[in-house]
């Protein structure tokens, strides 16, 4: 049993960083959604806020790590100009070419929206602190940003998993 350095980086990018972001989303969403004065006590709010801030900044950092490792470490192997690269293999067969033309083309761009949106949410929650519980409009805007971060990361992650199944980076 062995794993190459390229496969290790691919796993780190997708299965560790990317998956961690997606898994953490549910907790972040629940924390943001339930941040309402009528649902939590003052003490509960403080405890929840600390957890939420740590979680959201962690998610933002993980999202940045995902896109940087994906774009600057794994992607050059994927798109190498030789016939054995994953991109060349996908494009050589008309039945798999769409995995690159649609799948990879979407994944490589939309994934970058996730860390940007996640960073905005982490900053806003940190800035307002407990006062965010009373700011309905702000909380809704942050929920939308947070969901868009998840959609962008989810699209990139799912496509990455399928593409790596069809033509693995080795």
């Amino acid at each position: 049993m062995s794993i190459s350095p390229r496969e290790s980086w691919t796993v780190l990018h997708g299965m560790i960083f990317g998956a961690a972001f997606l898994v953490a989303f549910a907790g972040g969403l629940a924390g943001l959604y339930s941040l309402r004065p009528q649902w939590v006590t003052v003490e509960g709010l403080k405890e929840r806020l600390t957890r939420l801030k740590v979680g959201l900044w962690g998610m933002a950092l993980i999202a940045w790590a995902t896109v940087f490792t994906g774009t600057f470490i794994v992607y050059p192997w994927y798109r190498a100009q030789d016939p054995t690269s994953a991109r060349s293999i996908l494009l050589a067969d008309p039945s798999t070419a769409e995995w690159h033309k649609f799948g990879m083309e979407w994944k490589e761009h939309v994934g970058w929206l996730a860390p940007i949106a996640a960073t905005v949410v982490a900053f806003a929650v940190t800035y307002y602190g407990p006062a965010l519980a009373k700011k309905v409009g702000e909380r809704r805007a942050l929920l939308v940003f947070f969901i868009i971060a998840f959609v962008a990361a989810g699209a990139a992650g799912v496509l990455g998993a399928f593409i790596n199944k069809v033509a693995p980076v080795r």
């Binding site: 003490e43 960073t119 905005v120 800035y127 307002y128 407990p130 805007a141 939308v144």
Partner: protein, 115 residues
């Protein structure tokens, strides 16, 4: 016994958060616009190719990130200590974010593909 209460929302001006939201939208919209422009123009695609192994994605992504952080800093300096119309800010930020989402979607940007 002291009574605890949730800090008043009015305690902090919303300007810094408005700055972050618009900057996030600007960063996303920049990536969307550059993705579409690179598809439409070979010259723009080449100009965004800052690092050959990665190709034009280098320029598209890094310009977007730079726009995000620089515009955030600038807007923060403008909005700090101020309250702004948050509904309007949210609408602008979401429109910009939508431009980012649409601009990075292949069936959209391929409409502009250079012959």
């Amino acid at each position: 016994m002291a009574t605890q209460s949730i800090p008043q929302a009015e305690d902090k001006p919303n300007g810094p958060v408005a700055a972050a939201l618009i900057a996030g939208g600007l960063g996303a919209a920049t990536i969307g616009l550059l993705t579409t422009l690179a598809e439409a123009s070979e010259a723009i695609k080449n100009a965004l190719n800052w690092h050959n192994p990665v190709g034009p994605l280098t320029g598209k992504s890094l310009v977007g990130v730079i726009v995000f952080f620089v515009s955030w800093l600038m807007l923060y300096l403008v909005f700090r200590g101020k309250n702004v119309n948050f509904a309007r800010v949210t609408a602008i930020a979401l429109i910009l974010l939508a431009i980012g989402l649409v601009g990075t979607f292949p069936p959209f940007f391929e409409i502009f593909a250079a012959e």
